[in-house]
Symmetry: C2
Subunit: 182 residues, 2 copies
DNA sequence: TCGCCAAGTCAACGAGTGTTTATGTGACAT
DNA sequence: ATGTCACATAAACACTCGTTGACTTGGCGA
C-alpha cells in the first residue's frame, strides 16, 4: 500500500465529482459555476475541462453515478419495507434524488434523467406485485415517485415540520401513500 | 371604448409578466435571461428594468401574482372535491405551482415561497377536518402537497404516462392519497 | 397644429461565465 | 542525483449576463 500521493489524478477527479454533486443538487445546474465547484473541491478550475471535458460532461458524470447507485438499490418486500427504504434514502443520500430533478439543458443528460425516473416508477409498480399492464397502476406508481421527489424538494427547501421530521414519521406517511396507491 | 393604444405601459407590463411566468416556470430563474423574456414578450429588454426595477423584481412580481391566485382558491369539500380541484389545477395552470418551486436566490422571494407552501399545507390539513395540532397530521398534509408538486414536476418533465394522463385518472390517484393521509 | 412628456429604442458598460493555452512543479524511474 | 512527464496552476480568451444612460418617437392636450 502506497502513501496517498500529493498529486493524484483519480483522487482529484473524485473530489470534483463529490463537490459537483453537492452543488448541482443544492443549487441546480445553471446556478452553479465551475469556479464554485472547483473552489469547493479545493482544486483548479481548469481541471474540470481536463477530466470531464466540459461542465456538461461533469454533470453527466454525476448523473451516471447517481443512476448506478439507484440501480443497485433493491425494491423488494412489503409496503412497510418499501416505505422504510424510501425514508432512509431521504436522510442518507438526499442529493441523489435531487440530482434527478435538476435540468441541465443538455439533451443526452435529459434523456438519462427521464429514463431513470421512468425505470424507478416501473420497478415500484412491479415490486408492488400489482398488474403492471393496468395503465392506472402505472400512473399510481408514478404518483408514489412524485411523492418521494416532492418530499425531497420540500425538505431541502426547509419546510417545517417536514424537514425536521424523523425517519419513523416519514416511514409512516410513506407507508400510507404506498398502500393506498399500489 | 378606446382603440388599443400602440404604446400602453400597462399592457406591455402585462406582456412581460406573462412571458416571465412562462419562462421562469419552464426553465427556472437562473436559466432564464432577461433577453429571453423580452424577446418572448416582443418588447425591449430595457423595459424590464424600467417597469420592475430588476430581474429579481420581475420574479417577485410573478410570485406575487401566483400567491394571490392561490389565496383565492378555496380548499373545501370532501376528499373527492379536493382531488378534483387539484387535478384541475394541474391541467389549467401548472405554471402557478411550478413557480413556487423555482428558487431565485433572493432572500425575500424565498421567504414568500416557503410561507406560501406552508400556508397551503396548513389549509389542506384544516380542510381535511382532522386535528391540526397532531404533528403527524402536519407532516401528512405536507406529504399531500409534496405529491401535488412532484406530479407537476414529472408532468412538466414529460414522464409518460403521467404527463398525458387525463383529469379523471389524476383525480382518482389524488383521492387515494388524500384519503390515506388526511 | 404644435409642443411636451411618457413610452420605447439603442448601444454600451462592467462583471461573471465556460474554456483554452502557456507555464510551472512535484514525484517517480533511471 | 537528475531528467522526465503527468499533474497542476495562472492568465487570458471570447462570450453572455443584468443594468444603465442618452437618444428617438409616438400620441394626447392646448
Amino acid at each position: 500500500m502506497t502513501t496517498p500521493r500529493r498529486r493524484d489524478a483519480a483522487a482529484t477527479r473524485q473530489l470534483l465529482l463529490d463537490a459537483a454533486r453537492r452543488r448541482f443538487a443544492a443549487d441546480g445546474y445553471t446556478a452553479t459555476s465551475v469556479r464554485d465547484i472547483a473552489a469547493e473541491a479545493g482544486v483548479n478550475v481548469a481541471l474540470i475541462s481536463r477530466y470531464f471535458e466540459s461542465k456538461e460532461g461533469l454533470f453527466r458524470a454525476c448523473l451516471r453515478g447517481t443512476v448506478d447507485e439507484l440501480k443497485q438499490t433493491a425494491f423488494e418486500g412489503g409496503p412497510r419495507e418499501l416505505a422504510a427504504r424510501m425514508a432512509g434514502a431521504h436522510s442518507k443520500a438526499p442529493n441523489q434524488l435531487l440530482l434527478l430533478l435538476r435540468s441541465s439543458g443538455d439533451e443526452a443528460a435529459e434523456r438519462i434523467r427521464l429514463d431513470t425516473l421512468a425505470s424507478i416508477a416501473a420497478r415500484l409498480a412491479t415490486a408492488a406485485g400489482t398488474n403492471p399492464e393496468n395503465p392506472q397502476i402505472s400512473v399510481n406508481a408514478q404518483f408514489v415517485l412524485a411523492t418521494a421527489l416532492g418530499v425531497v424538494i420540500l425538505r431541502s427547501a426547509g419546510l417545517e415540520p417536514l424537514s425536521t421530521a424523523d425517519q419513523d414519521q416519514l416511514t409512516a406517511s410513506f407507508e400510507k401513500v404506498i398502500t393506498a396507491l399500489l
